[in-house]
C-alpha cells in the first residue's frame, strides 16, 4: 500500500514538472513564433529603447532558454528577484511573474479569483453528485419504467445543451421573468453566507444540470452492470434483504468508477469554469483567463494554466489514494 501511494505521489510531482516545462515552453515560443519581442509585449510599443532594455534585463529575457526555465522554476519554488541594477523587485514563491496589462503579480491576482471559482465548483459539485447519482440509481432500479425513460431523456437534454444556452435561458426565466432568484453575484462566504449562497444558486443549478445529466447516465450504466454481476446474485441467494443488496453490495462497486470521473471533473472545474463564469459574470479564474486571452496577457494565461494543472494533478492523486482504500484489488499493484 505504501509503495502504491509513494509511486502515485512521485508521479504527480513529475507530471507537474512536465506541465511547467510545457507552459514555459509556450511562454518562450509564442513571442518568437508571432515575431514579437516579449519585452515589448510587456512594456508596450511606445516605450523608449532604454526602458525596453531595462525590462529585458529585469526579466532575464536575453538569457539562454535553460537559464530562463531554471529561474522560472526557482521562482515557483522559492521566489525570485527581478533585478536591473539597483531596481530590484522581489516576487515571493510561487512566482508566476507579472501581468502584462495590470503590472500586478500574477499569483496574488489569481488567488483573489480562486474563492469565486472554488465556491462555484464545490457548490455545483455537491448538487450534481446528489442529483445525478440518486436519479441514476433510481433509474437503474426502475429500468425501463416511465420514470427511467423520463430521467434519461432529461439527462440527454442536459448533456446536449451547451451551458451558454442553459445559463442564459435560466437567467432570463428565473431572474428576469419570474424574478425568483437574484442575479448571480459573488459575495465572499465569510461576509455573508446567505447572500453567498443565494447569489450563486443560479450558476450552481445551471452547472449542476449539465454534470448531473452525465452522472445520471454514468451511474445508471454502472449500476445496471453491477446488478448483473454474480456477486449480487450470491448476496440475494444468501437471503439478504433487497435494501442491503442494493445499498451495501451494489452501490459500493457501482459507484466506485464515478470517483475517477468526479476527480477529473472537479479538477478541471477548479481551474476555471470559463463559460459559466462568463455567462453569469462571476469574476473567477475562468473569467480572468478569458480576459487574459483576449488581451494576450501571457503571464496570466500561464498562471491560470499552472493552477488548473495543479488542481487536476492533485485531485487525481487523491482519487488514486481513495481507490487504494476502496478497491482491495488495486492495492497489490
Amino acid at each position: 500500500m505504501l509503495t502504491y501511494l509513494i509511486r502515485r505521489a512521485v508521479n504527480a510531482v513529475l507530471t507537474m514538472l512536465v506541465v511547467t516545462l510545457v507552459t514555459f515552453g509556450i511562454f518562450f515560443m509564442v513571442p518568437t513564433l508571432t515575431g514579437s519581442d516579449p519585452a515589448l509585449l510587456y512594456i508596450g510599443k511606445t516605450s523608449d529603447a532604454a526602458s525596453v532594455e531595462g525590462i529585458r534585463t529585469k526579466l532575464g529575457l536575453a538569457d539562454p532558454v535553460i537559464v530562463q526555465y531554471g529561474k522560472f522554476l526557482k521562482g515557483l519554488a522559492v521566489g525570485r528577484d527581478y533585478a536591473n541594477g539597483p531596481d530590484v523587485q522581489h516576487c515571493p514563491a510561487p512566482c508566476m511573474g507579472y501581468s502584462f496589462k495590470t503590472d500586478q503579480q500574477v499569483f496574488p491576482l489569481l488567488m483573489g479569483d480562486l474563492p469565486v471559482t472554488m465556491s462555484l465548483a464545490l457548490g455545483a459539485a455537491v448538487l450534481w453528485v446528489i442529483m445525478g447519482v440518486s436519479t441514476g440509481v433510481i433509474s437503474a432500479l426502475r429500468r425501463g419504467s416511465l420514470l427511467d425513460r423520463a430521467v434519461m431523456t432529461g439527462a440527454l437534454a442536459g448533456v446536449s445543451l451547451p451551458i451558454y444556452f442553459t445559463g442564459l435561458l435560466a437567467l432570463s426565466i428565473f431572474v428576469y421573468w419570474l424574478g425568483w432568484l437574484p442575479n448571480a453575484d459573488y459575495t465572499p462566504f465569510f461576509d455573508n453566507p446567505f447572500t453567498w449562497a443565494s447569489g450563486l444558486i443560479l450558476p450552481w443549478i445551471t452547472l449542476a444540470f449539465l454534470f448531473a445529466a452525465t452522472y445520471a447516465r454514468l451511474t445508471r450504466a454502472n449500476m445496471l452492470e453491477t446488478l448483473g454481476e454474480d456477486y449480487i446474485r450470491t448476496a440475494r441467494a444468501k437471503g439478504l434483504g433487497e435494501r442491503t443488496v442494493i445499498g451495501k453490495h451494489a452501490l459500493r462497486s457501482g459507484l466506485t468508477p464515478l470517483v475517477t470521473v468526479f476527480g477529473l471533473d472537479l479538477g478541471a472545474l477548479l481551474g476555471g469554469a470559463i463559460l459559466t463564469e462568463a455567462v453569469f459574470n462571476l469574476r473567477g479564474l475562468g473569467y480572468q483567463a478569458l480576459t487574459a486571452i483576449r488581451g494576450n496577457d501571457l503571464p496570466v494565461i500561464l498562471g491560470v494554466t499552472l493552477i488548473a494543472a495543479f488542481f487536476i494533478v492533485f485531485i487525481n492523486l487523491i482519487v488514486d489514494v481513495l481507490y487504494g482504500f476502496i478497491d482491495p484489488r488495486v492495492r497489490l499493484g
Binding site: T3, I6, R7, V10
Partner: protein, 363 residues
C-alpha cells in the same frame, strides 16, 4: 500420407510418423515473466511459466499437451507459434531457428504456423464480418486468390461446415460452436503446416465438442496437418492425439504414445490426473472413489517452484532425493524409447490398484 488402415482403430502406424521429419523441435525452452516490485520496479523474481522443455512434433502427428492451470501449456503453445518470444532455449521450425526472429522476419513463417483459440466469443473481433475475419490472413500475407478473395473465403466456410452465404454476418449472429468453426477457417486460410489449438473445445457444449473434434480430425486427414492440441480434458486429448505430453509447473513430466500413456502412466502426477477424471458410469462409482488418488493442497507457485522435482510437495512417493535432484525425462521401468518419465520413483502396474494417498483425503 494419410492414416494407414491400421487394425488398431485407425491410428496412424507409428513407423509412418516416425519416419517423418520433425516439423517443430524445441530444446530447453523457457519463458519467464518478470515480476517487479517496489518504487523503482526492480525485478524481484519471475513467473517461470515454461521452465525448460524439450519436445519435438513430427509432421502429420497430433501432439496432445495436457496439464492443469498454471502448468504452462498455454504459454508453451504461444511460444510454438512465436506469439511470445522465449527467454531461454531454442525453437526450431523445419530446421530453422526461429527463437528470436523479429516481426518482419517472422511474417513469412506465420503462413506455416497458425493458432486456434479457446474462447470463441473473444477470439473473433465483433466489429468485423466473418468474411473479413477469414480474409484477413490472406490479405495480410498477400496470398494470390485466382478466383478472388470472396470465393476463397466461401470455400473455407464450406470446408468447416458453415453456410457460405453467411459471409457478411457478424460473429454474434453465430453460436459458440459455429464461431469456433470460424476460428478454424481463419487458421486454415493460409494452409499452414502446423496448427496449435489451445483448448479449442473446452468452451463448447458436449454435443458440439464432438462435432468440432470430428471436423479437426477430417481436416487433418485432408490437408495433412500437424496439430499441437492443448487441453485439460484428458478424455478429449486421448481421443485425438497420437502422442501425449503431461506438463506440471512449467516442465514436461511425462510423454508417451497415446495408448501407452493411458495404459501405463508412470508419473505419479499423471496417475493422479487420470484417476481424478470422473467416469460416466455409476456402477464404477465406489471403485473409482477407492482408487482415486487425491492430491493434497494446491499447485505451488510458478514463481518459486520446489527444488529438485517440482511435484514432490504433493507426491505420495517423494523421498529425499526428490528434493535434491531433478529427475531427467528418460524412459523408465523398461518402457519403450518413446515413453519418457521425469520421476525417480515411477509408478509400476501393480501400484495403480492401491487406494488413496497415505496423506488421506484432501487437506
Amino acid at each position: 500420407m494419410h492414416r494407414s488402415e491400421d487394425p488398431v482403430k485407425g491410428q496412424k502406424s507409428m513407423t509412418d510418423v516416425a519416419q517423418r521429419e520433425n516439423l517443430l523441435e524445441v530444446t530447453g525452452l523457457q519463458k519467464h515473466f518478470p515480476i517487479t516490485k517496489g518504487l523503482l520496479r526492480r525485478q524481484v523474481g519471475a513467473v517461470r511459466a515454461v521452465d525448460g522443455i524439450d519436445v519435438a512434433v513430427r509432421q502429420g502427428e497430433t501432439l496432445g499437451l495436457v496439464g492443469e492451470s498454471g502448468c504452462g501449456k498455454s504459454t508453451a503453445g504461444r511460444l510454438f507459434t512465436r506469439i511470445l518470444e522465449p527467454t531461454g532455449g531454442k525453437i526450431v521450425f523445419e530446421g530453422e531457428d526461429v527463437s528470436h526472429l523479429n516481426t518482419k522476419q517472422m511474417r513469412p513463417l506465420r503462413r506455416d504456423v497458425q493458432m486456434i483459440f479457446q474462447d470463441p466469443y473473444s477470439s473473433l473481433n465483433p466489429r468485423h464480418t466473418v468474411g473479413s475475419i477469414i480474409a484477413a490472413p490472406l490479405q495480410i500475407q498477400k496470398i494470390p486468390t485466382p478466383k478472388g478473395v470472396k470465393v476463397a473465403v466461401q470455400d473455407l466456410l464450406k470446408l468447416v461446415g458453415l453456410n457460405p452465404e453467411h459471409y457478411n454476418r457478424y460473429p454474434h449472429e453465430f453460436s459458440g460452436g459455429q464461431r469456433q468453426r470460424i476460428g478454424i477457417a481463419r487458421a486454415l486460410a493460409l494452409r499452414p503446416k502446423l496448427i496449435v489449438a489451445d483448448e479449442p473445445v473446452s468452451a463448447l457444449d458436449v454435443s458440439i465438442q464432438a462435432q468440432v473434434v470430428n471436423l479437426l480430425d477430417d481436416l487433418q486427414r485432408e490437408f495433412d496437418l500437424t496439430y499441437v492440441f492443448i487441453a485439460h480434458d484428458l478424455s478429449v486429448v486421448r481421443h485425438i492425439s497420437d502422442r501425449v505430453a503431461v506438463m506440471y509447473l512449467g516442465k514436461i513430466v511425462e510423454i508417451a504414445d497415446r495408448n501407452e500413456l493411458y495404459k501405463n502412466p508412470r508419473h505419479p502426477y499423471t496417475v493422479a490426473l487420470m484417476s481424478a477424471v470422473p467416469v460416466p458410469d455409476p456402477s464404477r462409482r465406489d471403485r473409482a472413489q477407492r482408487e482415486r488418488v487425491l492430491l493434497t493442497g494446491d499447485v505451488p507457485s510458478p514463481i518459486n517452484p520446489p527444488s529438485g522435482c517440482r511435484f514432490r510437495t504433493r507426491c505420495w512417493k517423494a523421498q529425499d532425493i526428490c528434493a535434491t535432484e531433478e529427475p531427467p525425462l528418460v524412459p523408465r521401468l523398461a518402457d519403450p524409447e518413446s515413453h519418457q518419465t521425469a520421476c525417480h520413483f515411477p509408478v509400476s502396474e501393480e501400484e495403480i490398484v492401491v487406494g488413496r494417498s497415505p496423506a488421506g483425503t484432501s487437506a
